[in-house]
Symmetry: C2
Subunit: 287 residues, 2 copies
């Protein structure tokens, strides 16, 4: 297989994630080609210096591809994986940027054998979306999970590592898509739902007392930030990771109701102990 | 009453909040005096340019005060309010920086009549604490809630406004301490508990699979940040706002369980509708 430096990389979907990845690769591989639904997006990506060329016609876009990156919402990735098999050049690496992996990787297993499939999930993002906020530095220093299939060759996994390092990210190989979905269910999808529920709660408060609008604290700003994430992206994530998210919600709710019981009981020592434990763990996670 | 510019301001408690407030006032009033338990803290505050002078003896510290700011954890504020009445100079303004107001203001009502009491709550903070992270810019652009008592004169409220503007904050007068506690119960104390429960949940996940340590997403970082807040401060807040926090937890839990039901049902339209609503509200709150 060619190295990334020698490759033509085709990025399908030029939103925040795809546009940023294209920009991060631009100049570091033979050619970056963008595929989008609208000509306007292609033109914008070219003028922002994110891609060398672009097309709205996926078939012609894929023709010269060495590596293909699917950067759309999860269920569109699944549709693409099902459809583009016959269009993929021999020996190509197909990778995706979807936030859930079990369904995607499951569908990848049916791809023609002349293609190397590899699940991908970069652990970064913004609450803004679209090509206009694409940022070639988005991936710098971030963890990029790679989920190989049993059929994926070690060379293809190495090429995936090469890709993630080229954009400044750190590869983390997880062999089990379900394990991936369990982990991100707790660490990424759960926080999103918590933020949504928090915003709904604050919304009830602002309806009861408009002064609430003026006293939204910094803690609330941070805790609620991800609730502004793109709905297309998040609804696909939820719909393809329901079981793991439900498990995470159940685990979370039991911790929250224990904390609620401590507040109700009002025992200072027990409250301090629980808060200290959470504080220590948070500091371990983000030293 | 003297203006802040003409006043000697005594700040009791030189942690993050008190040290920052002292530093923000320094040079903008006649004199800033710090009161702390340890001489080391006083020396540090002087060398950081936060105060003109300091003492570990509250009685001597209060002697020349025009305005006194209590900047300790909430239950220490309550103890101080109960104890220092006889030490307060005639005509002095006594204000506090506690995050809950009903108990504090309730105790302020028993102060000698020659003192003007005023509840205060600046809506800012950091997850770090102590004089070493004190920052004179901490209050810039932040909302500073003022809760007058029925006995507080309009002149004293104006002086409170003067103080908050001097440090760069925006005053918001709320006449009802209970209303204050209800609002911050939802907008500040609830997010803290949610972050603690989230950290506990992630802790369970890291115990099950150490790979979790490497894939803590940016969403998790933000959502869990406040869980690292100082335990002394937060346990006092919880212990003095239990009812409002329990109410907020109940409201929150009902929203979260509704979201959980939507995930369980897997109805795309309903999920998109709920996520869109949360996204729009978040964007209204933080345009």
């Amino acid at each position: 297989m060619k190295t990334i430096l020698e490759s033509t990389v085709v990025v399908v979907g030029l939103g925040l994630m795809g546009g940023s990845l294209a920009g991060a690769l631009h100049g570091k591989c033979r050619k970056v080609v963008g595929v989008a639904r609208r000509t306007e997006t292609i033109n914008r990506a070219v003028s922002q210096g994110l891609i060398d060329a672009g097309t709205t016609d996926i078939e012609s876009g894929l023709r010269e591809a060495d590596t293909i990156v699917l950067a759309t919402p999860v269920r569109t990735i699944i549709d693409l994986v099902r459809e583009i098999g016959p269009l993929l050049p021999k020996g190509a690496l197909l990778i995706d940027l979807g936030s859930t992996k079990e369904e995607i990787v499951g569908n990848m297993s049916a791809l023609p054998t002349h293609v190397q499939p590899l699940g991908g999930h970069p652990m970064c993002g913004k609450e803004l979306s679209g090509i206009s906020v694409a940022d070639p530095h988005l991936y710098l220093g971030k963890t990029f999970i790679l989920v190989p299939l049993p059929r994926t060759t070690p060379e293809a996994v190495d090429l995936g590592r090469d890709l993630t390092r080229t954009i400044g990210a750190t590869p983390l190989v997880l062999d089990d898509a379900r394990r991936h979905d369990f982990l991100v269910g707790t660490l990424s999808h759960l926080p999103y739902l918590l933020a949504c529920a928090l915003v709904q709660t604050a919304d009830a408060t602002t309806s009861e007392d408009p002064a609430a609008w003026e006293i939204v604290a910094s803690g609330f700003r941070d805790t609620s930030r991800v609730a502004a994430s793109a709905v297309d992206m998040m609804s696909d994530i939820i719909l393809t990771n329901r079981n793991e998210i439900l498990g995470a919600l159940q685990e979370y709710s039991s911790h929250l109701s224990e904390l609620g019981q401590l507040v109700k009981d009002g025992d200072e020592q027990e409250i301090r102990q629980a808060l200290s434990y959470a504080r220590e763990k948070r500091m371990e996670m983000f030293p």
